[in-house]
């Protein structure tokens, strides 16, 4: 009798709770579609989500402020750009899993290809904007502690025993994949194109890596703040930023004899902009990255500008270095398959340790 009563009141509490939860979800959903409806209107505020890779936080803070002003002057519409940053591969995964980015600005083309493979971006995305859809480039350099106590000058110094190398995880970080390929390219160049020797060289470098962070900024923090490692293999822009933030007294940049032309591309996420009604402003945002104003902001944030006039104005900032390109590795699809896919060369290198 008592148990029956108890069960009945239990049931009524469950029902009450279920109503609460079920009432809550659609309420939230309708809240969402409301903001999107207002985003589609041409007079109100329009919101864009830029899902980017790790080191671009400072760059896009500046770019967004400039674009918001540019768009307001041009159309009278207020645009608010939201930012999300993380390892390039992890960010691509989040967009595939439903993070509703209007534009992606990632570390390498393969990560945008991965999103395109899930039907969110048109397969021809890389030809829709100039310069392979990469408004700025960068390269890979070394950041060492002041005075360069380990005497690091080139890639072969990274393979020497007793040198601790900091680089992120190529599985999740775009920058890490550029780092890896630059090392591989150096070895190929010095060993007459012998792939087996290149693999042995890269294996020796990764033997010196005590920790693989998931993104480039995580590795910078490991090296700069936590004081781990003798050399940080980093994006040129990331190395310059660390110098700027930490003062030139504690670190210095070493430019290797050969590096790689890193092209971090940008793309509109077709499926999401069509859903949000934000295609026009999203496309204008990416085209804005090629304007002299934006190119100057990019150069000031230590990204190499594409525009010749801006590039020559900042020519003293960027050291001249022989640059390999991704085409020498057969393009990103081939490089990914050979080196970074499950069971690829990187897995073999890192597992045997």
């Amino acid at each position: 009798m008592a148990a029956q009563r108890n069960i009945r009141s239990l049931a009524s509490i469950v029902a009450l709770l279920a109503t609460f939860v079920l009432a809550g979800v659609p309420a939230y959903a309708s809240g969402n579609s409301e903001t999107q409806a207002s985003a589609a209107g041409s007079t109100g505020t329009v919101k864009l989500l830029n899902v980017s890779y790790d080191p671009t936080r400072e760059l896009y803070e500046d770019i967004n402020a400039a674009f918001e002003k540019y768009w307001k002057d041009k159309t009278g519409q207020t645009v608010e750009i939201e930012q999300s940053h993380g390892g390039s591969g992890a960010q691509a995964r989040a967009v595939i899993d439903g993070l509703e980015a209007d534009v992606v600005t990632l570390a390498l083309a393969y990560d945008i290809d991965a999103i395109a493979a899930h039907g969110l971006i048109s397969p021809d995305w890389q030809s829709r904007l100039p310069d392979n859809s990469t408004p700025y480039t960068s390269t890979i350099v070394f950041l060492v502690r002041a005075g360069n106590p380990k005497g690091i000058k080139d890639w072969d110094d990274l393979a020497k025993p007793g040198v601790s190398v900091i680089t992120p995880n190529p599985k999740t970080s775009g920058g890490a994949r550029w780092n890896y390929l630059a090392a591989w390219g150096y070895a190929l160049k010095h060993d007459g194109g012998d792939q087996a020797q290149a693999e042995a060289f890269v294996r020796a470098v990764y033997k010196n890596v005590p920790v693989l962070d998931s993104g480039a900024r995580g590795s910078t923090t490991t090296f700069v703040q936590r004081g781990i490692g003798d050399v940080l293999v980093a994006w040129e822009n990331e190395a310059f930023l660390a110098l700027k933030e930490q003062g030139a007294g504690s670190f210095q940049i070493v430019v290797p004899s050969v590096s790689i032309l890193a092209e971090p591309p940008v793309a509109v996420v077709d499926k999401n902009v069509d859903k949000h009604g934000t295609r026009a402003v999203a496309e204008a945002y990416l085209r804005f990255l090629y304007t002299p104003e934006a190119q100057t902001i990019e150069a000031r944030n230590f990204y190499r500008p594409r525009l010749q006039s801006v590039a020559s104005a900042f020519s003293s900032q960027f050291p001249k270095v022989e640059l390999l390109t991704i085409d020498q590795f057969g393009g990103w699809a081939a490089a990914q398959k050979t080196h970074f896919a499950d069971g690829g060369i990187f897995d073999q290198i890192y597992q045997v340790q």
């Binding site: 108890n6 709770l17 969402n32 400072e58 939201e82 940053h85 989040a94 439903g98 993070l99």
Partner: protein, 289 residues
Amino acid sequence: MIEQALRAEPARRSEATDERPVVRGALIVVALLFVAVFLVLPLLVVFGQAFAKGVVFYARAIEEPDSLAAIRLTLVTAFAAVSLNLVFGVLAAWTIAKFRFFGRSVLVTVIDLPFAISPVVSGLVFVLLFGAQGWLGGWLSAHDIRIVFAPPGIVLATVFVTFPFVARELIPVMQALGNEEEEAAIVLGASGLQTFFRVTLPNVKWGLMYGIVICNARAMGEFGAVSVVSGHVRGLTDTIPLQVEILYNGYSFTAAFAMASLLAFLAIATLVVKSLVEWRLSRESKDGN
């Protein structure tokens, strides 16, 4: 200190309940030193760093729109997680303490599951369920319902991680109380709900308070599971712990520690409330006897 403690070891064993004053002193010093180094010192560092550039900078760091948004989201998430777990926890504890049924021991084990699972996995589960490529992804997207990479996902992950706290606190209290008072109430004509609100709830209220306080502290501080489902959209899906990481990685150390100090304040407040509740609990059990 450690040497002393080690040397004291055999002595302690031979006279288990009656240590010499030297041994007792050494043990106390070791314990206090440990607490100072591992608990008090980090806390002091957090506050020292947070106020390194003065109170004005501290206030400005917290008034930053993204930081304010993170604080707001953390409060909303904690409120939702605590409310849901309050209801779920009371129901689960009641069911387990008052009834014998098939699968009861399984239920007890399942409630503890979030303790055993890594928070990262807890987050990933929701991405696999509600993500665009997940089981329910297509349906959710067709109805324009966003769960992961939006506040509902953060609430869900937090609820999952903090699920055991309320139930775990209540089960032993309810079991100790037994069914007599409820049965008496029902015999005297009270309805099920009346029995619950007039008899059961007052009996367990301090245990419940304790569970809520702990649940709230964990809900506000959760990093791993929330990080996986967040999407890291600034000013929208970052909670205080995530904002701390973003600020720290963005070379804004003082601001990062200012945000971290908010969590530290919360921890201290939690401790105070917890001690109060514990004090009430012990007094009540004495009264009961």
